[in-house]
Symmetry: C2
Subunit: 318 residues, 2 copies
């Protein structure tokens, strides 16, 4: 009961936007603390008000600089902003490589801007869950916009980006970049393309290439037309245009009802993921772990096959 | 019974290395056909003889060319080779982007070399499973070496690479590449580093950087010393040295017993993955899907929270 009250107080502080409580909540999420689910339960009805912007693209595209510029602009316009930046962890350096993040610190010091780096620990499936939960925390704390910045280089990272309402894919004019981006699946998830460092040679050629690729795509169900914007992040050029395009997309999603559909789809995935985790945790009791442990060597030396073993331990036939 | 016999005949043909049967088996795997598990069951005791080489690295590092060179060399030495190349799918082009693969076709025409491109369909978790199963098919068909080529840019792709016995990480001398590779987690999984296109400017600098980073790493449990090799794929330079280093690593793993440990670890993961899938398929019967469908709108408008719903549908309390 006391524990329950304490959690309720904690949740109230988050909802009232207390910065230290928000920071602590994000740590609880990231560490997959046993309290995290109860906390999210309390916060859930306060979520759904923030608009979520995903910023993704290959390494070195200048995502952090763009995010920085966007933060400053949103701040000037009086919005409350939260940022989740996803960095892969290097186990031997013992944490996320913070090079990019350091550059973002000047925005981090601004009031009403909350920036958090999250690292991959073990599976990215787990990270994806944590990132969405972290967004929920920031959302419940009253942010107007949440920016999710990920290195868009693998399917799981793209999955993270897709939890956003608007996904921005950032490319640079380096040769081959656009084709490589296609290969990485970036083309499929973009609501807006940004060609950053567009003062470099070859920029217009890449813009044409991207536009051609967009034309190859069947029109989206919601009839949104994907634009290719040019920015120069280091000179803060094109930020206002990017903001306007985001708002245009937001408006489009709201008017067509696709925002609700998109969020419903994400909620569906979230619920299925939660169930998946629960089933797994429930399944692996000590007895089953010991059973696997006792059999694995036999399976390794081909005395038994893994498929029959799985049928046996689950009791589920093919 | 007839079905069982037919499957048994099919498995026998694969074991006797019949190329068309192998191709068909790979399609069955890729399409997650209902027969695939029964087939893998029959083949399982014929697996474990092939040595699996993972080749990974950022887009544009020249992995396909290196793979090509390695195939030719292995072929000259009289080995039977299978190759699984993993390409992300582009839904709107309707298949994997085959640019790189086309260049590999001359190897594909060689006898005793079996090359297959696999694309991501939906989740990469699923792909990872399919790739391992495809390797098992090739393994059972009597290949000596299996090369798994992946774009090493996301955690899931790295997971795929790690199913190999020896993992080669390919980098190029482009500035920033080594740091980006670290960020992508490539540094953690390399048994051998290859600096390809090492005739380009800056090559020696990058080799030093990689070596410095290797030194930062705590020594591996099996005391393997990671080398950084230089290649020029387009001129087929360094291929022999790479082959020798692979064989040195193979020898090391076998002598220290770490090959068995590594494969045991992979088997453990495989079994857990199979169980995970089975539990999920078993859980989602029509009744539960309808139950979710009936509740999702209430959850979306915050009448109920997803965490309580998950407790209800699974019957598993926190």
């Amino acid at each position: 009961m006391e524990q329950e009250n304490r959690l309720k107080n904690f949740a109230d502080k988050i909802i009232s936007s207390d910065k230290r409580s928000v920071a602590r909540a994000l740590s609880i999420i990231e560490n997959e603390d046993s309290n995290s689910e109860e906390l999210l339960k309390l916060l859930y009805k306060h979520t759904g008000n923030a608009y979520r912007i995903g910023i993704t693209g290959p390494p070195g595209a200048g995502k952090s600089t763009l995010t920085n510029n966007l933060i400053k602009l949103l701040k000037e316009k009086g919005y409350k902003i939260g940022v989740i930046a996803v960095d892969p962890t290097s186990p031997f350096t013992g944490g996320a490589l913070l090079g990019d993040r350091i550059r973002m610190q000047d925005s981090g010091l601004l009031e009403d801007v909350f920036i958090r780096s999250m690292a991959t620990r073990g599976s990215l499936g787990g990270l994806s869950k944590s990132v969405v939960e972290a967004c929920d925390i920031l959302d419940a704390s009253g942010k107007d916009f949440i920016i999710i910045e990920t290195v868009g280089v693998g399917q799981s990272e793209l999955d993270i980006a897709q939890t956003a309402d608007t996904t921005i894919v950032v490319l640079v004019p380096e040769s081959g970049d656009s084709v490589q981006a296609m290969k990485a699946g970036l083309m499929e998830i973009a609501d807006i393309f940004v060609l950053n460092k567009s003062d470099r040679e070859g920029a217009d050629g890449i813009v044409s290439t991207i536009k051609n690729i967009i034309h190859l795509k069947p029109p989206s169900k919601d009839n949104w037309i994907i634009e290719v914007l040019k920015t120069v992040g280091s000179q803060n050029k094109g930020t206002e245009e990017l903001f306007n395009e985001i708002m245009k997309h937001k408006d489009h999603l709201e008017k067509t009802g696709y925002l609700k559909l998109k969020r419903k789809d994400n909620l569906n995935k979230k619920i299925k993921g939660l169930i998946h985790n629960k089933l797994e945790v429930e399944f692996w009791d000590r007895k089953k772990l010991e059973f696997l442990d006792g059999k694995i060597d036999d399976i390794l030396i081909k005395k038994e096959d893994p498929y029959s073993f799985v049928e046996e331990i689950t009791g589920i036939k093919n």
